[in-house]
Amino acid sequence: MLRKFAAPKIFYPLAGKLMPWFFWTFAVLGAVGLYWGLMLAPVDAVQGQAYRIMYVHVPSAWMSMMIYTSMAVSAAAVLVWRTKVAEYWLLCSPGLGASFTFITLVTGSLWGKPMWGTYWVWDARLTSELVLLFIYFAILAMKGAIPDRRKAARVMAMITVVGFVNIPIIKFSVDWWTTLHQGDSIFRKGGPSIAPSMLVPLFMMALSFSSYYFWLVLKHIRTLIERSAA
């Protein structure tokens, strides 16, 4: 069933149908979420206005990990079944993943200055996120080093799978080590510890970011399919 959808012939029109949905989700939720988050949401009792960076920081942090996870899944498909679409997915994703990781690092640093008094500390979460950026770079370097696309995809798949250990480390770093970075406040046992009026725009932003990612990836994959058909 899944493998049927993974055939380029079926995937191509399907992607074409989905793309406008993703685009409009991205645009509308992004605009609303941003306005809500930056203008309407209440000022934080402890952090003041600075906390608003959260509306970019947290969704891009999630994206950086979500994109990697999606790559790891496609990597498995590439290595086990040699699925064409999974190869394309793998080829198109790391650039975007690296960008979101970069944004996370930059917004986190900017947020760190008022909160912790420094742009950067070497604690486990920050470092593992930086390592994620380097892993993305390594994957991109392999892509650049191999002119042949299919070969490149298989090599990238291997590195992606091996590098996946880093994802749980990012996620659980706040529990495993004592860190300056705060612990999970949303996806945790006993429900989120953030006020709903702050939470809703956050989720909107997250949805908007992921729609943006899907929209771009589908677009790139379609051009790749077109190019290989030509």
Partner: protein, 223 residues
């Protein structure tokens, strides 16, 4: 089928002989380890050397392992020996495993033998040294597996040692982190079992899966 091709045992000794011949002395990664680990106390002067010892030694080991792996497969690809390995009766994964074992014996083992000496330099208490040695020992299989994979990719792709390091270092960081956590825990009198088990689990996976993945990478590179 008739008896032909080379056996694993013969290939193992072939690798060892080559390693010992090629470098004249296999002591070079060891020297690198000793040299670089002596650079740290030198460079850091009086700033709390014993405190830094585990970290400095871990980084040095990491770099020594990666350096020693630089041309693990490149030479084989360049002189055409890789074709012999690929057409051998034995599966390529096994041959790779044998080669890595020989590599470990020739390059990594001497480092462990000299570790007490380094501990002395850094004035490390012997129980810290023990935990450090254990963490390094548990770390090396994973480092070797990661480096081997990267070396296989680099060899097939005609890329130099720097690519190897670029690919391996980020992947190796978790190993480093857990290794240091182990030492840290024990220094603070806490149980380091969790980190140790994690490293051990990674080592087991590396030994089991590493050679297979590396073999696959080699085949892709030869494509």
């Amino acid at each position: 089928m008739t008896e032909n091709g080379f056996t694993l045992r013969r290939y193992f000794f072939f690798c060892l002989r080559l390693l010992f011949r090629q470098r004249r002395d296999v002591a070079l990664p060891l020297f690198f380890f000793l040299l670089v680990s002596s650079l740290f106390p030198l460079a850091f002067a009086n700033h709390a050397v014993p405190l830094l010892a585990p970290a400095a030694l871990w980084i040095t080991l990491l770099l020594s392992v990666l350096l020693s792996l630089d041309n693990l497969f490149r030479e084989d690809v360049e002189d055409g020996f890789m074709e012999q390995l690929m057409t051998a009766r034995q599966p390529l994964g096994l041959l790779v495993a044998v080669k890595m074992l020989a590599h470990w014996i020739a390059y990594i083992l001497p480092i462990f033998i000299c570790l007490p000496l380094t501990g002395l330099w850094y004035a490390m208490p012997s129980d810290t040294l023990f935990v450090l040695a254990l963490s390094l020992l548990l770390g090396t299989p994973t480092l070797l597996a990661l480096g081997g994979l990267a070396a296989a990719l680099a060899a097939g792709l005609k890329q130099g040692g720097t690519l190897l390091i670029l690919v391996t270092l980020p992947l190796a960081t978790p190993v480093l982190l857990f290794g240091l956590t182990m030492v840290d825990m024990s220094q603070n009198g806490l149980s380091y079992a969790a980190a140790r088990d994690f490293l051990a689990a990674m080592a087991v996976v590396s030994v089991g899966v590493g050679p297979l993945v590396t073999a696959a990478a080699l085949r892709i590179g030869m494509d």
